[in-house]
Symmetry: C2
Subunit: 664 residues, 2 copies
């Protein structure tokens, strides 16, 4: 066959592929690559929709998930919610067309953003069972619900209604979808109940009822009646917007002036900033945006990227928050008791391609957690737990990229998932999460997101390390205490015997050798009243009186009660400062307070800092970090020039001491 | 806002999303999540197209890849080929519409199957630079080439021609595409030259010239003038076809009878098999396929799944093959010298969802390879190297799922990527590779594929293990030899001295203690002539004459020359058998042959087996496996009932011997 006729032959084969045909033949990219996964994916898509719908209408979600076994490998997945319902004329479109939806063009944090989720489930169902999906939906002003059974005409990507009806339905409003599909039911890891539980934890305002194929229903009760703050839709942020996208926006804008285009169609661009950008680009602010050529658009784009702008507002995002991060971690622990929750890190919002996003990290460490396995990474995106594709996910990769050896975890070669007794929770929320595929199983490795993840993980790592260092310090000092109290009296006794004198009183000597200020705490918990009673003791084991300031950082949103003594300052961000009275040598000072309404595991250690004293002398509290400015009058501080060899002096050479004893 | 008006509000926002809009906002799923990756993805898509086009037209591909730096973060990717060209009226469609192509509906192994690749690159280019893509294409019968610059109208998913022309072009036929895009250029791992080199290795019939942004062009010369066997398009295989898909096919078929529908629209269904399937389903073979209801379709589907059918024909697939697998492995070794290439495994074709697929695995082990890092996994799909998303890929996950400790590699907990001095190459080819996303970076974990991968990896692992065991055996026996030859004479000497007799001749005694037939080989290589000269020696270190058959398995497609002595049998599949003459005690037999045209690393150890002798006695060759039937007259075999304690007898207790010496 000559080459030419090949070209002609090939041309004959060229044709358009409908989006339904594409996904029908590539169902794995929607998350339907195995019967086990298919079942979970279908549930996930329907629950995502239900949560989003409730959020849109400010309704506390009440969701019923039912998985019924129909045949040896056929199941019926039914998900029902109390959302606002879908108006009749849109029901068939929402469920029966791929790439159809309401959230795709909105810059707001939501679970479904693609217009592919639930219609993908409908298509997978019909491909594997030959059956239609049934939907019932009711909006409040209608007396009856609308019910339709439909399949997707994949050639046209349009719904075909098999049957429709008006039916009586007990709900005031809401939607129920029933998808028949080929599946395999599993328990344990990566299972439907596990996914629902994780979902319930980070959406504590939702009640989720699960009816498994066998056994009793499980109810994940709502933990709060409070809706999470509603996220706002916002225009794009100028940072990271692509040149081509900018040009497209200028072509489509209704603004007649460049400056007003910038001001109106971007967030964080004031009139003043808009002018500055135009100036920097060498463009007249009154130019018509439509009139800009490629070179001018490029100059504008550069100026936008280089402009100093505020980070995007936080109210377009809905992070999980410190409390729920700890709760999420606690949940997977089961009966295991950890040693320590590193205070979770929530970064400030950042931007990629004009999309705001925010990163959160929490770590739980030690105790009964297995030390000989890679750490578990719990992944969340927009409050949705990610179950599959861990290895292909930016969240896992960011964890594997940190050198955890610096933070006290074992890691061969300083790369890869660390081993050790720890679980790491990572959450990314964004007005547009860049998933690696339509299955929304993994986040793509976008540079800006990787940077933020890295910073958040390292910060949380440092918090872990601080704890471990503190712990090691204390352990070392305690050991020293014990040895000094054991050995010094023996030396004294023997020496006294030799020189035939009275055994001297050693308290002051021991204190001098120790030379530390020792901070420790006890936390009592009253389960019934959900009360933590915290006592912090500051022991002065130095040979002189000491004066210092004690600083406490409470977890976000937690307020302390009954503080005694009264602190010098209590700030809204949870920073509390006590200007302690002078503590005499061998004496101690105490501070007590009460926390209410937390679960036991939510507060297991106080975040303590000191100032006004050489921090090298203090065991059990860190030096006050520079960013915690003291905004009140200078404290009267102690002028104790610390002994240069403070650390060394403290070190006892046990061997020498032992020798001394033997050499009597 | 009451719930109702929310439903109305939401309804207003509902709209259709064009496929271009979808991918414009989700460019990461096409592989454009970072500027670095974007550059490679664009090259990859264009090269895939060029290779496919050449294959369609039976042309030896000659591909030019050029990456030019335009601006600090802007590049021009130009790829030019000598393919058949594209007819004028299709050029704009092929490059300017997403989901448009010629291979989507074909069940044949090709690189591009989605109709998304090159148009995705065009779209990414225009979004990031605001510029159009230029295409030149010429078909053989035209005197001039067609040149067009186009962008994609994303709202309509249609090309907009910015400019078009007829131009003079030196090529007889071919296509050149120039995509301007935002990118970042890197060298080393995951770089364009690395990808091109890997591509050249598994496509040895292609010449690829690469002009990097800086420095001299690199030419990957063609290693053969022979085109790989052309793969055939085939209808689906009945196994794994989904019920819904089957029903759709029956609705659309032109066949009037069920039996002819089955026979014509499926591979491996003969008239007889079609009848059997109808019978098993309780259906009349003359029924009209269109008339079948759901229950009947289900019965038919069940019968099809349970029918015993031949595996799909191999001519629809194009595996890499043993030689190229070794070459691919050798390439990444650079200057490292490995110890051993485990003979690669190519599984027979299998089926998932009606799509034939085939799995290949190769392992290179030991030598200079680093032992303290996770093994490297080289991934290929349809002869395309996979560069990104290793962690999210079925190929990597299958490797991590094998318990490699059984095959001599270190692996903590028997899971995860093993550590050790090894590189694993894995290839999946299929008429439809189930990629996890449109970026075609990773293969989805489809059950049937996972099973085949697992079998292939374990088989290759066993081959590795066989080598390691053989090596350990030899080492152990060699040690025994040395010790026996050292110690026995000393015992003899001392004993003779004590009893005042002459020191006895020990040869027979040593032989008796060893009691083995020792097989070893030397391989000499002549670089100029590309000649391997192989000598195999069979030493009889037993106390009796031995007769045995030596069997050699040559690599696929390799023939031996100058075999001496003449073998009893040479089969086409590379199985060679020598019926050796009796070897006297302490004597040896030798076999020599020559292999021509292989690279040195392609043959480093002979695959040897023995029969007609108790295999326990033989070191250096394995017992003949059961599947290697001896299809010639019974050999005259030795009746040497091996001593039951053959193995034990061989073991020397060194301590006892030493004691004996000391106790003189």
């Amino acid at each position: 066959m000559p080459a030419t006729s090949v070209a002609e032959e090939l041309a004959k084969k060229q044709r358009e592929i409908s989006v339904s045909e594409f996904f029908e033949r590539n169902k794995q990219v929607l998350g339907y690559d195995s019967p086990t996964k298919a079942l979970l994916t279908a549930v996930k898509e329907a629950v995502d929709n239900s949560l989003d719908a409730a959020a849109d209408a400010d309704i506390l979600p009440d969701i019923l998930v039912e998985v019924r076994k129909v045949d040896k490998d056929e199941f019926l997945v039914a998900v029902e919610d109390n959302g606002p319902g879908i108006v009749k004329k849109e029901v068939a479109n929402v469920f029966g067309r791929l790439l159809y939806g309401s959230r795709f063009f909105a810059r707001a944090q939501s679970r479904g953003q693609q217009g592919l989720g639930i219609s993908g489930a409908v298509m997978y169902g019909q491909v594997t069972t030959g059956k239609a999906t049934k939907i019932i939906s009711k909006v409040e002003e209608d007396d009856v619900a609308y019910q339709v059974e439909l399949i997707i005409d994949t050639k046209k990507n349009m719904p075909t209604k098999v049957r429709e009806d008006r039916v009586i339905w007990e709900r005031a409003h809401g939607t129920r979808v029933e998808v028949p599909l080929k599946g395999r039911y599993i328990g344990g890891r990566q299972s439907i109940p596990e996914y629902l539980e994780a979902t319930a934890i980070v959406n504590p305002h939702a009640r989720i009822t699960y009816k498994p194929p066998e056994g009793d229903p499980i109810v994940f009760e709502r933990a709060t009646e409070e809706l999470p703050p509603k996220t706002k839709e916002i225009p794009p942020h100028p940072h990271g917007i692509e040149l081509g996208t900018l040009m497209q926006m200028m072509k489509e804008t209704k603004s007649y002036k460049l400056s007003s285009f910038l001001e109106e169609e971007f967030v964080r661009v004031s009139a003043r900033v808009a002018k500055e950008i135009c100036e920097a680009a060498g463009l007249d602010p009154d130019t018509k945006p439509k009139s800009l050529g490629l070179e001018q658009a490029k100059a504008l784009h550069d100026a936008m990227q280089n402009a100093k702008l505020m980070a995007p507002p936080t109210d377009c995002l809905s992070p999980i928050g410190e409390r729920l991060i700890k709760k999420g971690l606690k949940n997977v622990l089961g009966n295991l008791r950890p040693e320590f929750y590193a205070p979770p890190v929530t970064r400030d919002p950042s931007v990629y391609s004009g999309n705001p996003f925010q990163v959160e990290v929490g770590i739980v460490f030690g105790g009964d957690l297995p030390a000989d396995q890679p750490v578990e990474v719990l992944r969340f995106a927009n409050r949705v737990p990610l179950i599959y594709q861990a290895g292909g996910c930016a969240l896992t990769q960011a964890v594997a990229h940190v050198d955890w050896r610096r933070y006290g975890l074992e890691q061969r070669g300083g790369e890869g998932l660390p081993f050790g007794p720890a679980i790491v929770l990572v959450h990314v929320c964004s007005t547009k999460v860049p998933y690696t595929s339509e299955a929304k199983e993994a986040v793509a490795t976008v540079d800006e997101i990787m940077t933020e993840l890295d910073l958040a993980l390292k910060e949380c790592g440092r918090r872990l390390k601080t704890h471990l260092t503190k712990k090691a310090h204390r352990a070392k000092t305690r050991e020293k205490f014990e040895i000094v109290q054991l050995i010094l009296p023996r030396i004294a006794e023997k020496s006294a015997k030799i020189v035939k004198k009275k055994v001297p009183v050693l308290d002051a000597t021991i204190t001098k050798i120790m030379g530390v200020v020792w901070v420790d705490e006890t936390i009592a918990y009253d389960k019934k009243q959900k009360r933590h009673s915290v006592t912090i003791n500051v022991h002065n084991f130095t040979d002189a009186g000491k004066k210092l300031n004690l600083h406490l950082l409470l977890p976000r949103g937690v307020a302390a009660k009954d503080l005694d003594p009264k602190p010098s300052e209590v700030r809204e961000d949870g920073k509390v400062t006590w200007e302690l009275k002078r503590i005499d040598s061998v004496d101690k000072a105490s501070v007590t307070f009460v926390l209410e309404g937390l679960d036991e595991a939510e507060y297991d250690e106080s975040d303590l800092y000191v100032s006004g004293i050489n921090p090298v002398l203090v065991i059990g509290a860190e030096p006050l970090p520079g960013d915690w400015e003291l905004n009140y009058a200078e404290f009267e501080t102690e002028e104790t020039p610390p002994p240069a060899e403070a650390e060394d002096e403290g070190e006892i050479d046990y061997d020498e001491t032992e020798e001394a004893l033997d050499d009597e």
